[in-house]
């Protein structure tokens, strides 16, 4: 029970902070959460697992955090096999779960203290570390109040601080901004960027395309327990080469006809229908737009709205899975299609501040940026 086993030989190459090889997880009852997931994360890298709910993000992180055993495949953290040497892995990682792990009856300081004590930090060093983290996350003023009285954003920051008390080599952030208001999300983004500058290896999961685009150096898109695309956000977008024209019809019942019209045009590489909206992949949006509209007009199809998009991760997802991205899971068709013509995770960020639809997610179109807050 007593030994720390902190300096033992490793099972895999140290070149990777995280290495996941053909990971599979089937839960009791036969639900397949992971169906052969592989990726690697370099030391000091910020890596995002992006995907709708149920894609397998949390299952992957729970296995990496030693909370769940893989059904097949292997996962290594800092070169250590998580299934074979969980105790050693736990010394090296910080884990911030999707559900908050804050004990609401304890104060912020007490939550942090217990965490440090369980990592057997000496009392004086722990006190100092806690002061530092409270200051870093702007929680000093509330530190000695029970966490039950804190706001959601404060609790989430405390969650992250708790994952950092023992200075882990690798930090797992499972949906760090889900449920946060736009302002708290912007604060969290700044914190994540600040951590990244300190050289921490960060694996974060998100179902917000914008968040992955903003924070991650590299990302893997998960869908149905598989990696459907992997790379830097820019590389993934560049691979698409082209723009997307989204056309919302007045008459939803004529989507099939309109789809045929668009698919018949030379400029259009692909068309996907989503409710009353059609997304057409074209090489040059601005030049293709007139002929698209003219063709629809000739066919007697009235257009309610048109939007032109530079490639975004939405399109990467669309390209990889053939479905419009829908953060709530379930793929295309049934999403809460909005006036903009693209199914998005609920709008937020600058848009919500400007009096838009409220909701909880950063907008996924490439045109919206979060409000610029202080630089940490």
């Amino acid at each position: 029970m007593g030994s720390h086993d902190r300096g033992s030989p490793v099972d895999a190459t140290r070149a990777h902070a995280i290495e996941v090889i053909d990971l599979r997880k089937t839960y009791a009852g036969g639900v397949v959460a992971l169906d052969g997931v592989s990726f690697t994360v370099a030391p000091g890298e910020v890596f995002a697992l992006l995907g709708p709910n149920g894609a397998g993000k949390s299952s992957t992180v729970r296995i990496l955090a030693t909370l769940s055993a893989p059904s097949a495949g292997a996962a290594f953290v800092d070169g250590l096999d998580v299934a074979a040497r969980p105790r050693e892995v736990r010394w090296r990682i910080g884990y911030v779960a999707q559900a908050s792990g804050v004990d609401p009856t304890a104060t912020g300081r007490e939550n942090l203290t217990l965490q440090g004590q369980l990592y057997r930090m000496p009392a004086a060093a722990l006190r100092e570390r806690i002061q530092e983290l409270l200051a870093l996350f702007e929680l000093t003023a509330a530190a000695d109040r029970a966490a039950i009285t804190w706001s959601g954003g404060m609790k989430r920051r405390l969650d992250v601080a708790m994952g950092l008390v023992h200075r882990p080599a690798v930090l797992f952030l499972d949906e760090p901004t889900t449920g946060l208001d736009p302002e708290s999300r912007a604060v969290m983004w700044d914190e994540v960027r600040a951590l990244a500058r300190q050289g921490l290896t960060l694996l974060l999961t998100t179902h917000y395309l914008e968040e992955a685009d903003q924070l991650a150096q590299r990302l893997a898109i998960l869908d149905g327990g598989r990696v459907v695309a992997e790379g830097t956000p820019d590389a993934l977008k560049a691979r698409l080469r082209g723009d997307r024209v989204s056309v919302e019809l007045v008459d939803r019942g004529r989507v099939a006809a309109a789809r045929e019209v668009l698919a018949g045009l030379g400029e259009v590489a692909a068309v996907v229908a989503d409710g009353a909206t059609l997304h057409a992949q074209v090489a040059h949006g601005a030049s293709a737009l007139p002929s698209l509209l003219a063709a629809l007009d000739r066919a007697g199809l009235a257009v309610a709205q048109v939007a032109l998009h530079r490639p975004s991760l939405d399109d990467v997802y669309l390209d990889a899975t053939g479905q419009v991205y829908d953060a709530e899971g379930g793929g295309g068709g049934a999403g809460p299609a909005s006036g903009g013509g693209v199914t998005r995770p609920a709008s937020g960020g600058a848009r919500a501040v400007a009096g838009g639809g409220g909701g909880a997610g950063p907008a996924s179109g490439g045109d919206v940026r979060p409000p610029n807050r202080r630089e940490a």
């Binding site: 009791a28 909370l67 908050s100 792990g101 217990l114 990592y119 057997r120």
Partner: protein, 255 residues
Amino acid sequence: MEYAADLWHLFVRLVRASVRMPVFVVISIVQPILWVLLFGQLFRAVAALPGFGAASYVQFLAPGIAIMTALFGAAYSGMGMLADVERGVLDRLLATPVARSALLAARILHAATQVSLQSAIILLVSAAIGARPHGGIPGVALVLLAAALLGAAFGAFSNAVALLTRRQELVIATMNFIVLPATFLSTMMMSGNLVPPWIRTAALFNPVNWAVVAARGGFEGRWHLLPRNLGLLAAFAVAAAWLATASFARYRRAA
């Protein structure tokens, strides 16, 4: 040593959570006092029955209520574990290097400590209304030990049920199903001389009765009652702890 430190930190967290609920503290002190006063009055005439074999009913009742308090106080310990599961606290603790068994042991220790304190209050109140601990300080210590062992056993069992079912409703239902029959199939409130023979027989196999007989033996200074009953009780507590440990391992495997 490090295990002891882990256990201590986790135990402190649970104690702190308990004492931060003033209502909980007041109820857990007032309730046993009420039981002593209420049952002491209600059944006062019982001690006068021929063959009851006690100087007064309060004298007879005091160690019994001390054990009853331990039983009721520990039976719902698993609810706290489920609250930790729901709040994500358990996952967070499991992601640290802390010994898995310490997470469970802290809860069992917490249950045992809490019920020992409650039992001590019972004995004080009973003494104030006329009960006399003929076993002296060692006898009182043995009453508290019996309460602690029963509290540990039922605390562990409650956690096992919680980890197996993961439903608060099922913890409540299961423990209710067990606690009252276990109370009445014992000599907690009624002298063994006066209960029907089948209850006397059933009581021989009832861990709650082992605790009651051991506590009464300590309180009255009838030491010969102690080794067998405390031994059985300790064995029961070990078995319950084993069941809780196995349930915890099963819970983690299913994750």
